[in-house]
């Protein structure tokens, strides 16, 4: 009862929080001295990045681990991981787009090989790779195992990729010229709005994953139900006509 009430309230709650964030971010808070209205992207981009890089990916990795560990092996974790990645891809792409839009006026270009942007782009590709792997036809548990292993491999790889990209940038002369710090000074109401944006988008992510998960579960239930019926049908093949 409690859990259903909780699940049902996430959607409306996240909608409300996002609306409040939007109102505060777009209307109430002041524009920045240097960046003007572009600074309002600070209520969008960091929150999206947080969800994509840490919440979505972290959840996918943890669920994959839980699936692979014998004691907690359940297709539920596989479905949760897949849902997290699917929604995570959306957030990652939005992170890249908002990052690009935010940087354009300051950098003058749509893309720079900034370490964080590049790492995020690689993460997007890894997410897409996960989804491509899931589309390969296979038995439920075989697919779950492959996906889980891939997710964990990705988790191991992200630090390696991240460091190599940072070294690639910092050891190259002139890197700093292209990447002036985008962070504006944040105080008072802006700080609260920023915090709210993190909460709002995390909740939005949670809601989207819940919906996606329910869809996956319904699909899965079709498969699991009727083992006894399948056995009976199989045996009937052999009955004399």
């Amino acid at each position: 009862m409690m859990r259903t009430a909780l699940r049902k309230s996430i959607g409306p709650l996240s909608a409300v929080l996002v609306a409040v964030t939007a109102w505060l971010g777009l209307v109430v808070t002041p524009p920045d001295r240097d960046q003007g209205d572009y600074v309002r992207l600070v209520y969008l981009h960091p929150a999206l990045a947080w969800v994509a890089l840490y919440v979505a990916f972290g959840m996918a990795a943890v669920c994959s681990l839980l699936y692979l560990w014998k004691r907690t092996r359940s297709l539920r974790f596989d479905r949760l991981a897949a849902s997290a990645v699917e929604v995570g891809v959306v957030f990652t792409l939005l992170t890249l787009v908002t990052g690009s839009i935010w940087g354009r006026p300051t950098w003058g270009v749509w893309w720079t090989w900034d370490a964080r942007l590049t790492s995020t782009a690689v993460l997007a590709v890894l997410f897409l790779g996960y989804l491509a792997l899931r589309r390969v036809p296979a038995e439920a548990h075989v697919r779950a195992r492959r996906s889980a292993v891939f997710a964990l491999l990705a988790a191991v790889n992200v630090p390696i990729i991240h460091f190599s990209v940072i070294w690639w940038q910092t050891l190259h002369q002139g890197a700093t010229v292209l990447n002036p710090n985008l962070s504006p000074t944040i105080h008072g109401l802006m700080a609260w709005t920023l915090l709210l944006s993190f909460l709002a988008f995390t909740l939005l992510f949670a809601w989207m994953v819940t919906v996606r998960y329910e869809i996956e579960t319904l699909r899965g239930d079709d498969e699991q139900a009727g083992l006894a019926a399948a056995i009976a049908a199989r045996r009937a093949e052999g009955a004399p006509l």
Binding site: E139, A140, E223, L227, A230, I231, A232, R234, R235, A236, E237, G238, A239
Partner: protein
């Protein structure tokens, strides 16, 4: 000699499809059972199941004293499986294939050549890459591997199919030698005339289960009701 196979209502799934829908089977060591049945009845699935390659979904399954539901890997080294496709490497010669398999199974690699002799593949065929040999010769190499490995349970999937007279006779001899030597043999077949004479027990499958059992022509077989 103890039981080689004990199955009670064994169920096995391939994805969602029950390839085995409740199989009962008893076989002692030193005995030969032939499995008859139409295509799709589950004969090949049963053989793979006995080799520990298909997980147990329900029921009891004990092979060579090993519980397949908990430790299927234990049984793998002690069984030999031979299908239509001999399961060997095309780019290696029979000698190389057998030596590789024997070494992998921690057995004496010098068993390879005598085993190939036994199946009539001495000399040049033994040192020609598998890809250049005929289907019959490849099957013989598969049989040679079983002869060399001497598993306690032989699993043969339609061993007579597409073989000539002489090779078919050899299959019968090898089965008899294996059984007399204490191994259990399970062979599926579409040709009762060839298979029944070499069997203690003849079992018919349909719809993933055993629907009938009879005595075979080997003599000294046990009848399971």
């Amino acid at each position: 000699m103890g039981p080689a196979i004990r199955l009670r209502s064994a169920v096995a799934l391939q994805g969602r499809f029950p390839v085995l829908s409740g199989v009962d089977l008893d076989l002692d060591q030193g005995q030969v059972v032939v499995i008859l049945g139409a295509n799709g009845a589950g004969k090949t699935s049963l053989l793979r199941f006995l080799a520990g390659l298909v997980p147990v979904t329900a029921g009891m399954a004990e092979v060579l004293g090993v519980d397949l539901a908990t430790t299927p890997r234990e049984v793998r080294r002690r069984v030999g499986l031979l299908g239509h496709d001999a399961g060997l490497h095309e780019e290696l010669t029979p000698v190389e294939n057998l030596t590789f398999a024997l070494r992998a199974a921690r057995l004496d690699p010098t068993r390879a050549v005598p085993a190939l002799d036994r199946v009539g593949l001495a000399g040049r065929p033994a040192t020609t890459v598998l890809g250049r040999l005929s289907a019959g010769q490849r099957r013989r190499v598969g049989l040679a591997l079983l002869v060399a490995r001497r598993p306690q349970l032989w699993l043969l999937d339609e061993p007579h199919a597409s073989l000539d007279e002489a090779t078919r006779a050899m299959v019968g001899e090898l089965v008899e030698e294996a059984a007399s030597g204490g191994a259990a043999v399970v062979a599926s077949s579409h040709e009762p005339d060839l298979a029944v004479p070499m069997a203690d027990l003849v079992v018919t499958m349909a719809g993933g289960a055993v629907i009938g059992t009879e005595q075979g022509g080997r003599g000294g077989g046990r009848h399971v009701a």
